[in-house]
Amino acid sequence: MIKGSIIAAKQPDDSTIKKISSVFGQIYGTEVVFELKPDPSLLGGICVEIDGTLYDGSLRGKLGKIVKIMKSEGP
């Protein structure tokens, strides 16, 4: 059994949390217990952090990637 955290701007509902648990339970092969961490700076979406790996599904993360791509192209 491993621990992980769900970081979200808005508190996800119970069915969403259950879905996340089962998916990651399959990926990691063991039961995953999540703690919930609110973080409004995410702007939207969810981040899941398990055992030193971060799954970034947040709006802030996506915007950051776009900024990076725009910075690296052209003048």
């Binding site: 952090e49 055992d51 030193g52 790996t53 971060l54 799954y55 970034d56 599904g57 990637k65 776009i66 791509i69 725009m70 003048p75």
Partner: protein, 508 residues
């Protein structure tokens, strides 16, 4: 104000092209356990690779240098202040890369490729990893083309070839940087791209060097990679590898590059600081166990590629500073065994006004004649031996006042040779001029017993006289292979005319 329509269209256009290369949603993440002195210890970061570039939440970057079972040691690139304990950091999945390409030429950059000269953004042709594998054995061919430094004593006695690594070693203030800079200045119009990597020097010194290069027009083909003494140990550590990556762009494009590492002693000191902070066990002189590998992997990247790979080359001039002339200390002995020869500068010679203060007995070039033109080989072949004989006799001259004629002749000849090999700073000498002067002196064509001032006048004015009245001789030396008999006669003839015009005696 803002044209929202156009901005909106731009954004939509860019978003349409937006195809993230890493569609993966996940990256390794960790938390800063401790931070201090430019090193941080991180928890987590599963799957982190060695030398992986890490990004901190606060915007800073670092390199994962130490992978231990339960933590990662990271050296920070840049200011520690942006990182704090408890902060999150993420793996980028990539190693450290620097911008490379023609856009770097003429610029002054820091070891990460960021501009320091205020001349605007760098427009790179691409990016190369800072750490890279050296060319393999079958990728190379022997060094066979000469790298002219413009300094007669080096081009004649310890000639450097393209693709060679020649160490410049000596105490402080013996003219090590001067030799490197003069070599860069001499590469004008020679289609060699130059790189000067300043490691841990004072900013005022680097600024003086850049001014010198600009005044001489050398910045047109030179890039300066600058890590001052105020920069973190990590930046100083990376600087030479960044420079090498930038030079490799040209080497693999079939061109010749010259890179100066000034100096590797400070580089080793910075690496020692990093290793001790990473709690790696100290070895000899407190350097870490891989102090040799530190420099060997850097210098092996300078090579001469074979024709299949484009025949490009990187010539490396690493500089090492010794303490009290001790070339048997740890870092100097490492460097001497890695490089293809050394130019050994001595304080005593420098103080006796013999500059460049090259000790011709201890200096060696393991490439040697293969890098010299036939003409230069013809005139300089005996030089090293003759200088050694002169030095032997010099000892005796201090004791006995009565010497036989042949010893006196030898001493006089040695004095003349020494005088000939002296050269002023920032005054590189073209190869044909060197060859002619060496020919005249080694064949003893000048009137004997010429006073020193007269000889210096000859050294200064005769090349100008040739350029004015006999430019075909200079051209012939460049174009022909070796000094043919008619060419030798021409040289002797022109000398005779010059002497007659000076009215200083007869040609021997």
């Amino acid at each position: 104000m803002f044209d929202w329509k156009t901005i909106g269209q731009e954004l939509r256009g860019r978003l349409d092209q937006y195809a993230p290369e890493t569609n993966r949603l996940s990256r390794s993440s960790g938390t800063v356990l401790s931070i201090g002195d430019g090193m941080a210890r991180l928890d987590g970061l599963r799957g982190c690779r060695l030398n992986e570039l890490l990004e901190f939440d606060g915007g800073g970057y670092g390199v994962a240098m130490d992978l231990v079972e339960d933590s990662v040691g990271v050296s920070l690139l840049g200011d520690d202040a942006v990182v704090s304990a408890g902060m999150k950091a993420y793996g980028t999945g990539q190693v450290l890369k620097v911008p490379v390409g023609e856009g770097l030429t003429g610029r002054v950059v820091n070891p990460l490729g960021l501009p320091l000269d205020g001349k605007g953004r760098i427009h790179p042709s691409g990016y190369r990893s800072v750490e890279a594998d050296a060319p393999g054995i079958t990728d190379r061919q022997p060094v066979n083309a000469s790298m002219e430094t413009g300094l007669m004593i080096i081009d004649a006695i310890v000639p450097i070839g393209r693709g060679q690594r020649e160490l410049i070693i000596g105490d402080r203030q013996t003219g090590k940087t001067a030799i490197a800079i003069d070599t860069i200045l001499n590469q004008k119009d020679k289609d060699i791209v130059c790189f000067y990597v300043a490691i841990g020097q004072k900013a005022s010194g680097i600024s003086r060097i850049i001014n010198m290069l600009e005044k001489a027009g050398a910045m047109k083909y030179t890039t300066v990679i600058c890590s001052t003494a105020a920069d973190s140990a990590t930046l100083q550590f990376i600087a030479p590898y960044s420079g090498s990556a930038m030079a490799e762009y040209f080497m693999y494009a079939g061109r010749d590059a010259l890179i100066v590492y000034d100096d590797l002693t400070r580089h080793a000191t910075a690496y020692r600081a990093m290793s001790l902070l990473l709690r790696r066990p100290p070895g000899r002189e407190a350097y870490p166990g891989d102090a040799f590998y530190l420099h060997s992997r850097l210098l092996e990247r300078a090579a001469h590629l074979n024709n299949d790979l484009g025949n490009g080359s990187i010539t490396a001039l690493p500089i090492i500073e010794t303490q009290a002339g001790d070339i048997s200390a740890y870092i100097p002995t490492n460097a001497i065994s890695i490089t293809d020869g050394q130019i050994y500068l001595e304080t005593d010679l420098f103080n006796a006004n013999i500059r460049p203060a090259v000790n011709s007995g201890l200096s060696v070039s393991r490439v040697g004649g293969a890098a010299q033109s036939r003409a230069m080989q013809q005139v300089s072949g005996q030089l090293r031996l003759e200088l050694a004989q002169y030095r032997e006799m010099q000892v005796f001259s201090q004791f006995s006042s009565e010497m036989d004629a042949s010893t006196q002749e030898l001493l006089q000849y040695g004095n003349t040779l020494t005088e000939l090999l002296k050269q002023r700073n920032n005054e590189p000498m073209e190869m044909p001029v060197q060859i002619i002067l060496l020919y005249i002196v080694t064949k003893k064509l000048l009137p004997p017993g010429m006073p020193r001032e007269q000889f210096n006048t000859f050294k200064e004015q005769f090349p100008r006289y040739l350029l004015l009245h006999y430019p075909e001789i200079l051209r012939a030396i460049r174009e022909e292979d070796g000094l043919s008999d008619p060419l030798q006669k021409q040289i002797t003839g022109s000398l005779g005319k010059w002497i007659a015009a000076q009215d200083i005696g007869e040609l021997k």
